[in-house]
């Protein structure tokens, strides 16, 4: 028993160091959010919490104004990010479960052609077509709108592939039984396919929520008024070029607020998260 413990000692050591190194940047951000800007700016921030935490967080949430920074209230930015993440997740799940249902449960002309069209979007992340996509957005008058921020990000194949894969595992007997009972395709979708997809929907939601919350390039291009910005964009703008004499206490308080929601989602819904990650990328 003791021999086994000793043999595992190096593994424990390596993992413990990894855990500490992983957590250190966030620990430092939490500490930074509890001191005043002056102490940090002079490079004198200790490694233990300071007295100004409540003040910093209140300031960040309600006004985000410091000696150098004129930010936008973080509570608004958090709300924007939340709306965006939920809209992308829900929108993507709805459109992809519907299209997957069509591809899996029907036979119709051009079925594989349409499936191939959807599949192709896997090839090109939105980043590589920014300039033309931006042009399309401005032609449609969608710059600086919530629709423009969210709808283009719903066009992706991962959800469709995941649901199609799952629908193919639903036994044929279910469909035959439903037909005998006189249930049509919509009834079957609502009463059988959708309830059976519950865990897949949950797993996909977790992945897409994080995907939406962490978007960067797209909101950077599409949002032009500060009230529309997401929290991630807002913080990078607050930091600017990262001068020593800026309000690091506010930046760090906002950063902690920005990383808390997605981290909580991953930690609290870990099983769904792992399932979603492995399945959507498979």
């Amino acid at each position: 028993m003791i021999a086994k413990q000793l043999r595992n000692l190096p593994a424990h050591l390596i993992l413990a160091v990894a855990v500490v190194v992983f957590a250190f940047p966030v620990y430092l951000a939490v500490i930074g959010s509890t001191w005043d800007a002056g102490t940090i700016g002079r490079g004198q921030m200790p490694l233990t919490p300071g007295p100004d935490g409540i003040e910093n967080y209140t300031n960040a949430l309600t006004s985000a104004r410091g000696g150098r920074i004129i930010g936008y209230p973080v509570q608004v930015l958090l709300w924007n990010s939340l709306l965006m993440a939920v809209a992308i997740a829900v929108g993507k799940i709805i459109i992809s479960i519907l299209s997957a249902y069509a591809v899996a449960f029907f036979r119709f002309p051009l079925r594989m052609f349409f499936f191939g069209m959807i599949f192709l979007t896997l090839m090109l992340p939105i980043e590589v077509r920014i300039a033309p996509t931006y042009k399309v957005m401005s032609d449609l008058g969608l710059i600086n709108t919530f629709a423009g921020l969210t709808i283009p990000l719903m066009a992706s194949a991962t959800g469709t592939l995941l649901f199609r894969q799952f629908f193919l595992t639903i036994p044929d007997e279910y469909v035959e039984a439903a037909k005998l009972d006189g249930a049509g395709p919509l009834r079957f979708f609502w009463s059988i396919a959708l309830p059976l997809s519950r865990t897949n929907i949950a797993a996909l939601f977790v992945i897409l929520f994080i995907y939406g919350w962490n978007q960067y390039l797209w909101p950077l291009l599409i949002t032009t008024s500060r009230g529309m910005e997401t929290i991630v964009i807002g913080i990078v703008k607050m930091m600017g070029t990262g001068e020593a004499q800026t309000d690091w206490n506010l930046i760090m308080a906002s950063t902690v607020l920005a990383l808390l929601p997605p981290v909580l989602v991953v930690v609290l819904m870990q099983q769904w998260f792992v399932k979603g990650l492995v399945q959507t990328e498979k």
């Binding site: 993992l15 700016g41 921030m45 919350w213 981290v263 492995v278």
Partner: protein, 294 residues
């Protein structure tokens, strides 16, 4: 693959497909075809006349020393991130795969950085490596090392590699762990009975068996380094100092969105599309159906 039993309905499936097809067409196929179309056009400086220039934009892009430079930056950056991430993630996964106490806790504590936005990772690492207020940055300077990532290109590149990798290790760790745990326990036990050392077990049995996962992660990490790290670079260095952290992706953004040089940017987009398509194709060609999780 196709189900044996299906519903007979002529119109309904089209309605079900419609939302996704509309969004895909407007926000994917239209702009993608625009990118290809614009890549063979050139506008005069006043935007009054557009002429068809065949592949001139591509020739200009590929012979532009700045583009070649950003190609080199991208290669150095992507390979560094990929190597760094995969080595550490594999090490942690092998350690956590053992029958040790608290394995689940370690897993949770190594998983959460996946949730962070790349730009947020950048902000956190700036706070550590800032030359005058960062706890490590100022120590390096106090030690006489002249640390300033805003002046030194090599240091800037190092910092974006560290910030990007830190965020990505969690993802790779999870996949490696899943891969390792899918290796049949009997195989491992047989090797132990034969007296194989831990290293030999890893080198001759575990590593070959998880090679599909390794190969899959290789392509995923390259795509991550190409595109998803845009936030890190934009927040941390803005492509500088000089052009030392201007990757291909960052250059597309600068030329197309900031400098509004549409033809050149579109040609670059098309080149990127080809690179990504090749990576995705390789992945499907070689990995699909060979990787087993759970």
């Amino acid at each position: 693959m196709q189900r044996r039993v299906v519903f007979n309905n002529r119109i309904l499936p089209y309605f079900l497909l419609l939302p996704q097809l509309i969004i895909t067409t407007i926000f994917f196929f239209w702009p993608a075809s625009q990118a290809i179309y614009q890549s063979v056009l050139r506008q005069d400086p006043f935007g009054l006349r557009t002429t068809f220039v065949y592949l001139d934009n591509f020739r200009d892009v590929l012979s532009d020393p700045l583009y070649i430079e950003s190609f080199q930056v991208t290669i150095v950056f992507s390979i560094s991130v990929t190597l760094f991430v995969m080595t550490l993630a594999l090490l942690f996964a092998v350690m956590a795969d053992r029958q040790i106490r608290g394995a689940q806790t370690y897993k949770t504590l190594l998983l959460w950085p996946y949730a962070l936005a790349p730009a947020i990772a950048a902000v956190l690492w700036v706070f550590i490596f800032h030359p005058s207020i960062g706890i490590i940055g100022k120590s390096l300077n106090a030690g006489g090392l002249h640390w300033d990532y805003k002046l030194d290109g090599g240091q800037a590149l190092l910092l974006i590699v560290v910030a990007s990798s830190w965020k990505q290790i969690a993802h790779n760790f999870l996949f490696f762990l899943a891969g390792l745990q899918s290796v049949p326990i009997a195989v491992v036990e047989a090797a132990m009975i034969d007296g194989a050392s831990a290293w030999k077990l890893f080198r001759t049995i575990l590593f070959p068996l998880i090679s599909p996962t390794t190969f899959y992660l290789l392509t995923i990490n390259l795509v991550f380094a190409f595109f998803d790290t845009f936030g890190v670079i934009h927040a941390l260095t803005g492509g500088g100092p000089g052009r030392s952290t201007t990757t291909l992706m960052y250059k597309v953004y600068m030329d197309g969105y900031v400098n509004l040089n549409l033809g050149i940017s579109a040609a670059q987009s098309v080149i990127l599309m080809l690179i990504v398509s090749a990576l995705v194709w390789i992945q499907f060609r070689y990995v699909e159906g060979k990787v087993h999780y759970s």
